[in-house]
């Protein structure tokens, strides 16, 4: 596609529910990143994919968070047993290579856990 696409743009869920957030990167970009941004803070690194594999998942806060990129393109961030503290904007970015050059960001998915 022309840019990084994220869906849904907004998601409201209840505490304890399961959510999936999707990211469709720029075609041909091998690197894909997930970030979480809370109000007044910079994006917080969650996980970085190079192709299909997670090259660095050190930012995932706990085992309720999981991400996949099975075919090296679209990625899904999965959050189990959501908590109110998970409320944030989840940003996805892609990059042409894995050298962490310019990142192209999607518009984000705003998650609200009630």
């Amino acid at each position: 596609g022309a840019g990084v696409s994220q869906t849904p743009s907004n998601k409201v869920t209840e505490k304890g529910k399961y959510v999936e957030l999707r990211c469709d990167p720029i075609s041909g970009h091998t690197a894909l990143y997930w970030y979480r941004q809370s109000l007044g803070q910079g994006p917080e690194f969650l996980i970085y994919f190079q192709g299909t594999g997670a090259a660095d998942d050190s930012g995932l806060p706990n085992d309720r968070f999981f991400a996949v990129r099975p075919e090296g393109s679209v990625s899904t961030l999965k959050i189990q047993r959501t908590e109110r503290g998970d409320s944030a904007v989840y940003l996805c970015a892609s990059s042409l290579t894995g050298s962490a050059g310019e990142l192209f960001f999607g518009e984000g998915s705003r998650l609200t856990v009630l």
Partner: protein, 110 residues
């Protein structure tokens, strides 16, 4: 570890003023430093810096990196209301990891 510190946290100026935004970082496995502008949702790319002392310039914006002192500055001259945004500094490592600062919120008043 991996800290990126930006200052000031916020800044209010009037149109026509010049501003300097600061970013300091830790050196672990450094590859590049980037600046982004975030107005609503998606940050947009401004500059990527890899070498010390070489100024990057785009219109009224410029940026420079000091790898010895581990900091970068972003200058905006003749500010306009459209420059109002959060400016993010990002440090990249050779392993591909990007660490963001918390940003400087710039407000330019008419």
């Amino acid at each position: 570890e991996d800290k990126v510190v930006q200052s000031p946290l916020s800044l209010v100026v009037h149109e026509g003023d010049t501003v300097t935004l600061n970013c300091s970082y830790e050196v672990t496995n450094f590859r590049s430093l980037l600046w982004y502008k975030q107005e609503k949702k998606a940050p947009t790319f401004l500059f990527m810096l890899t070498s010390s002392g070489i100024e990057k310039k785009s219109g009224r914006l410029s940026s420079i990196l000091d790898k010895k002192e581990l900091f970068s500055i972003l200058n905006i001259t003749a500010t306009q209301t459209g420059d109002s945004a959060v400016y993010l500094c990002v440090r990249n490592t050779n392993a591909g990891k990007s660490t963001f600062g918390d940003g400087t919120t710039l407000t330019v008043k008419p």
